[in-house]
Amino acid sequence: MADLAITRELNPPLITGHPSYADVTAKVSGITEGRMPRVWYYAFGVTVTITGVLIAMLSYLALTGIGVWGNNQPVGWAFEITDFVFWIGIGHAGTLISAILFLLRQRWRTSINRAAEAMTLFAVACAGLFPLFHVGRPWRAYWLFPVPNDYLGVWQNFRSPLMWDVFAVSTYATVSALFWYTGLIPDLATLRDRAVTPARKYIFGILSLGWRGSARHWRHYEKAYLLLAGLSTPLVLSVHTIVSFDFAVSLIPGWHSTIFPPYFVAGAIFSGFAMVVTLMVLAREVFGLKNLVTMKHLENMNKVILATSLMVGFSYLIEFFTAWYSGNMYERYAFYNRMFGPFWWVGWLMVFCNVLAPQVFWSKRMRTNVPVMFVVSILVNIGMWMERFAIVAVSLSRDYLPSSWGNYRPTYVDILTLTGSFGLFFTLFLLFVRFLPMISMTEVKGMMAADAPHQVGEGL
């Protein structure tokens, strides 16, 4: 018992207001059953419209050619790959929360992991769009997958980092989806059992796969969940590592850098957590989840943001140091160009948003202040996008031969496509909170049981 006392001191209850199991069920399921608050409909209307813009832009692109973007020689990749890396990065926080914190026994994850995982899926969906549509001939994009064909007899080039990307991203999407769905099964069963309309009963009946919470099942279920967490952890690290290979394996100054893998992963977690904060702050305001998503959750996330911000800042320093120390004139110029070239403002914006802004979280007052954390999280998202742009496009604009140096100006299509991808992301997220439990009832109840005052351990 003594150790439990300590436990409670170290981990004060994460669920405040002493709700009962039924309260949790009612609160969380209730959101998906009752009418949405009016603000939901407004928001949904807006995001759907923006998604429409995305569809329009992508169709225009596919019908006309990459020329509708600002890309050129030498800047073959610009907005599209920047957006791709950006969204993949966002996705990483979800997996981190659901898998890594799970393995680290961070119990505070329980009320946010479901939403975080959903965010991962939707972010990866948005990310996937860009490589798919950035190819000159989208109708040939399936050539990127090793589909056997007797007709040509030719295969993919597995030496290409882009090929690694295809496997990494599709694996990541699949595993994230499995992990998310596995976690959902018991809650889907709950919705099934609460369902009043035959339609809901039928749909959730199918989705919950006939789950009945048998003790025999729980034992395999928990094992599966643990294993998925164990698999997702190296996976999530590998995905951004491989994304960074796209650049690290090339020979372009500003790309050709060995510190990219850890640098990119840290950046991904950084931007991802910022996005989670943005979303959760909104969600708990709109749906009144203050008892489930407590200030402790937000504060912990802000701590992670601060830590990763320091890592990212350190990576910047190392990058510049390496360039200078290498004595390689091309490397040196690339980084000089990043901060003082035509795109100087991108470089400085990235340093301000990613390194300076998060430092306010050293103060507890700041990292527990909702408006402040909201603003910082937005800044971080902007800054991380700029970082990717600086790496992808700015490096390309001036590489080896001064004769071939070029400039880059995005077109309205570039900008609207990026905007549209946010529309898609939020549309999916709004649909998620509308139809699925955005908090894992099973886990919350399990934790309540653990926190319950009259604990019965096997000590008896």
Partner: protein
């Protein structure tokens, strides 16, 4: 139990005791089912009932109750083997794909690199290993649990609709040796179970 340990996923170590073999000849009734309001009562009841010699038990809970599987005398899950097997398959498939297409399928000189080399085969091999393992974990779990399943007798119980909400059901399944409905009902009531019902097959 260490302070940071999360009770939800505590690892059951293998315990002795008769296994609850699911494969049983057809029965008229599924078993006797009682409802409890909280996991601790349930645990107490399980122990009590087993004390009376009932081994063929199953419990139904809205969340994994810590220590329940040991109380019921369930063996640890053997899902891990599925996953390992699938992982190895994935790795093998990946290497085969990259080696065959590069050296047999259509050998092409690309960037002066060899037709196959572990250096550039590693990332994809890793990814496919993870992918196959993940499939193994999810579909293995469903397979071991006999899911998806359309229906189950337990749903006949009056409180079944709350077993995914806030109620905890304990079932003495018919077919255990010296199973007797009357005594089973008595045993469950004695253990403090409410809504003690005979649930038909």
């Amino acid at each position: 139990m260490s302070p940071l340990e999360d009770p939800v996923i505590e690892q059951p170590e293998p315990s002795s005791g008769a296994a609850a073999a699911p494969a049983e000849p057809q029965r008229q009734i599924y078993g006797i089912v009682a409802e409890f309001e909280d996991p601790h009562e349930l645990l107490k009841a399980v122990r009590a009932v087993r004390h009376r010699g009932y081994e063929k038990l199953d419990a139904y809970t809205p969340f994994p109750v810590h220590g329940l599987d040991r109380a019921l005398g369930l063996k640890a899950s053997n899902l891990g083997w599925f996953v390992v097997g699938c992982g190895i398959m994935g790795a093998f498939a990946a290497v085969l794909l990259q080696w065959w297409t590069g050296t047999i399928g259509y050998p092409l000189v690309l960037g002066g690199k060899p037709f196959f080399a572990p250096e550039f085969a590693t990332p994809i091999t890793f990814e496919l290993t993870v992918l196959f393992s993940a499939f193994g974990a999810v579909f293995g779990m469903l397979f071991l649990n006999g899911l998806p399943r359309y229906s189950h007798p337990i749903f006949e119980h009056a409180q079944a609709s709350r077993l995914t909400d806030d109620r905890f059901l304990l079932a003495i399944e018919a077919g255990g040796e010296n199973f007797d409905a009357e005594q089973a009902i008595a045993a469950l009531e004695a253990a403090g179970g409410k809504h003690v019902e005979v649930v038909a097959e």
